[in-house]
Amino acid sequence: MNKPLSIYPKRIFDWEAQNAFATFSGDLNPMHMDAVAARRTQAGQPVVHGMHALLWALDTLAQQQVLLHPPAQIKVRLQKLIYVGDELALEIMRRDDAAIAIQLSVQGTVVITITISFGEIKAAAAPIKPCEAIPSPFWPKQPLELSLEQMHSMHGCLSFAQSPDTAASLFPSAVTVIGAHRVAGIACLSRLVGMVCPGLHSIYTGLTLQSVEPHTEQDFICYQVTNAYELFRKVRQTVEGAGWIGVVESFARIPPVSQLTVQEVTHYVLPDEFKQTSALIIGGSRGLGELTAKLIAAGGGTVAITYAVGRTEALQIQEQILQSGGRCEILQYDATKPAAEQLDNLSITPSSLYYFATNPIFLRKTSLYAPLVFEKFYRIYVDAFFEACMTIKSASNTALSAFYPSSVAVQDRPSDMTEYAMAKSAGEVLCADMARFLKDFRVVVERLPRMLTDQTTSLVPIETVAPVDVMLPIVRRMESRS
């Protein structure tokens, strides 16, 4: 591993900074601003704007008198997500008269690489004149939700969200060296990806910009999509304006996964096949928990679904079930907190527990094994499962069947999933002993294959199994009670 030449003071990207950049750039994508929405993305929680990190780096280098002149070229690769609250470190890895190579890292994990090259700045291009092919600058107030096909033909102009003069309060040193328009232009590129194209379901991966003399009377950038690759959903677009010409690279993320509706589920189950069932579904507000609730309700059973933060989603599922003639209550439940006080308000006496509580599965890690990561998984997949089962059992004298969703990752173990697999494996052992030693307790453990849920969507396409094909046989096994 190369040692850095220089290390600079770190910066915590907190909510105050996040909000300030969002206002300046106009990039209000929910992945950055809304914790409930962000949990349904691959990030699992709000992420820092990549362009914010880039501008902080340029500002720091200017402040430290490393960046003294506008660069001829900036090449940026956004490798991993930065979460709000993360502390970012800047290290110079290589420096000579021609270029500076920089790494931004969080707890030792490189998240962004930047290469700044020096040389001749191109002369000013002719001012961009709005014409038929280039619509007038417009203001997106909500992120656009585009299909990949629509992205193919996207082009236009995008205004700065605020006057470039505002840049001086956020990135004063960068403004001094590269100019307010160039700073505002980079911020506008965040707005381009996060609000326009790909828009709502986007993830920034990189850019290459060459400097030109800016036209300071024009407060917008122009863009044109040149490629939208179907297999990987990768989008490449050229950009021009605000003193830059270049290429922006991003991905069109797969939108949050929708499960079958109650109406659709009725085609899979018999109307009364689960009529004896009274099921508590922890984590029932989305994903496999949501599907399980609908299957049981459609089969005549009574369900109680829990949510940690997704109350709106839980209400929507409840509404669907009630409108179809089913029975459903909702309950807020946080698996990191003690079970007893949270289940006090449960009105049903569960005969079945389906346990889908989970943390974000795919995490940024710095080493093969991270004890803190394992601790978090263990809390949810082992301790909290046991607590939930024992709380329900102690509250009633009825028999309880519990479903414990393990994973094929226990045996296949993809990279970066050691702690997850360890915790699930420990959960399997716990289940086996609970079944052996607890009276009136039955547990169904299944190593589930990879199915398309919010947790499992990825940039690299993978074959997945339809959730209903996996969950319906499991629900039937659970409810057969034989």
């Binding site: 490798q79 991966t205 297999l231 990987f232 990768k234 940039l459 690299v460 074959e463």
Partner: protein, 84 residues
Amino acid sequence: MQQSEIYSKLTEVFHDVFDDPSIVIGPETTAADVSAWDSLNYINLMIAVMAEFNIKFQTSDLEQIHNVGAMVDAIEKKLAAQGQ
């Protein structure tokens, strides 16, 4: 196209995508052998491979590619299907 030619073209693609002219690939080469080979660069690599050889992979093809040898086999099959 002979496998030797595929390897030759593929080596150039690797050099370009990973910005490292010293990379030497063989049938057993995997992501673990190339330091900059992460999920993002994997996607860049596959896009560059498809462009270089003028072929298209499907999701099911990607599942079979665990090392460079499997990648070369997959490229060879695609080219053969095109009559090359």
